[in-house]
Subunit: 338 residues, 2 copies
């Protein structure tokens, strides 16, 4: 087991390395921190920490840098979450309050998060599966052509074109619309399939085929759109990644563009509470030299989506976690209000 002081040494190493981006040596450590012991003692501690795999030496004659395992310990045991200052909080609120619609909310959140953390921000749109139906609309664009519009409680709108084999009367249409709405408005998307299951049976023989088609498109929309959307911003911050970054930045940019990859990443994170994945803990190859901090956000108690940042493993974890948590909180508030 590591002694108290050795943990303190690790904390100091992480803090200094995050600040300077340079391997930190025993002498510099004792100068910058009140450890109460001499460099030689620190050296012994460092040797122990290295044996345990928490820190490593880039070259024999250089200082130490934390390993992924070291950061992990730091995050789990040594670092708190740094709360934002009052002006920062106020700025967040002001900035987000100006949003006019869902796209705007998400867009502003991405910018905000990227600016606050100086890293790449990722914000997932409120998920359809976890949200509820606000309204369903059916429009006849042509006698045998319908449009289905689905509006969620988070303000998201999905539309689908439907080609029917047979024309669908205006009265049948109104009927279907009314019944659909009465059944599913206010209900969760996940519950919809069950709720509409027996709907075709209550229609005239002639209309059943069309009603079934509409329902299947509706259900399809629910399933398809469960493939979530997200917005990414602050990629310019990648240029502050490190010195060697041509090699580093490339796979990261590629991963960020593959929204599927990012969604999987978010999916792997806890639904509630903050998740920090450090370096090789990230399954995706391109992200093994990054850390990902994510947290769920939602309009109520429950998270409807996640947001977070992607940055170098050498990041200011307490600060980043503080910013991510604060932003998620305010976004939740905004969503609840709208």
């Amino acid at each position: 087991m590591l002694s108290e002081r050795r943990l303190e040494v690790l904390r100091a190493i992480v803090q200094d390395y995050v600040g300077t981006e340079e391997p930190v040596g025993s002498k510099a450590l004792t100068e910058r921190h009140q450890l109460g012991v001499s460099p030689a003692t620190v050296r012994n501690d460092m040797a122990a920490l290295e044996d345990e795999g928490f820190i490593a030496q880039p070259h024999t004659s250089a200082g130490r840098i934390p390993t992924d395992k070291g950061y992990r310990l730091f995050v789990d045991k040594l670092a708190g979450v740094k709360p934002l200052s009052v002006p920062e909080r106020r700025a967040i609120q002001n900035f987000l309050d100006g949003a006019v619609d869902l796209d705007d909310v998400v867009g502003r959140t991405v910018r905000l998060l990227a600016q606050l953390t100086r890293q790449v921000a990722v914000v997932q749109y409120p998920s359809l599966t976890r949200s509820t139906v606000r309204h369903v609309e059916l429009l006849a664009l042509a006698p045998a052509r319908l449009m289905l519009v689905l509006i969620t409680d988070t303000g998201r709108v999905e539309q689908r074109l439907i080609d029917c084999q047979t024309p669908f009367g205006e009265t049948s249409l109104a009927d279907l619309r009314a019944r659909l709405n009465s059944r599913i408005v206010g209900r969760r998307f996940a519950d919809v399939p069950q709720l509409v299951q027996d709907l075709p049976e209550s229609f005239e023989q002639d209309d059943r085929a069309t009603v079934s088609t509409v329902l299947s498109v509706l259900l399809e929309t629910l399933v398809e759109e469960t493939e979530e959307r997200l917005m990414i911003g602050g990629t310019a911050n990648l240029t502050r990644f490190g010195h060697d970054f041509p090699l580093t930045i490339r796979p990261v940019l590629e991963a960020l563009e593959e929204h599927v990859v990012m969604l999987k990443l978010l999916g792997e994170a806890k639904d509630s509470g903050m998740t920090v994945r450090i370096g090789h803990e990230n399954a995706h190859e391109g992200l093994t030299s990054t850390s990902v901090v994510t947290v769920g956000y939602g309009s109520g108690d429950e998270a409807v989506a996640k947001l977070g940042v992607v940055g170098p493993t050498r990041m200011d974890y307490p600060g980043t976690m503080g910013a991510v948590r604060a932003v998620a909180r305010y976004v939740g508030q905004i969503l609840a209000e709208s």
Copy 2:
């Protein structure tokens, strides 16, 4: 005036430099191209081209590289547009044909363009101002709360919440919906204000306020949403920019994230035909070391939006222009079909 052979030398320089990314010397030129003259002659030509500002030397003892002015001449006079191969065309069509909705079309187009050109792709969503109304829907979410949904011929959907001072009857609502649709469906957005101007007068005194509110929100939507949207992809290709790219890539990423900047850029391009802006021809500072190739696309004869790529000034202009033009054409077809 530049002689035929000197133009040929310039062409050769551009081609070689684009291929190798290295300053090209007189000897290498004569070896790789059948110019029919000796290196010494080429040297004289190069000196002339340098005097005129078409090429430059990075260092005294190095070969020449084209200047922005050189690329300009190359694009205007020396380069054609390289048509895509049949398999490439087929691949484009297959890829785009799979799209299910507008977002998907734009998303696929961005990917396609980025992959084909190995550069950053920018695709503008079909603009509202130039498109026409397919349908307007009014929904009562609550007695005094309406939702306006606007559907364009390009498949775009905009929705707005409307709070009314007084409740609005179901019959009045149906009436307004019907009248609105009969007046503006199929019309261009730009014409809408005129077409609905006198609508409130034909309603009962009680409803006029609400009708006016709805109309003003409708018009507002038209105006606000004229602020166009765009999608960007292929930023990972920036890493192939050049050797010195930490400095180069940063401002480019920043510019790309500022959609306003990119929209302005697209706005400055010609509405029809292809526009190539080379290096310092781009007004935005961050893009002075890039070239931007754009072209309008649309479902009919007229362009409804633009798309293009951003790459290093040292790019394969004929190939890029060919790809951009081909993609624009196919996207236009897809939009026309849907």
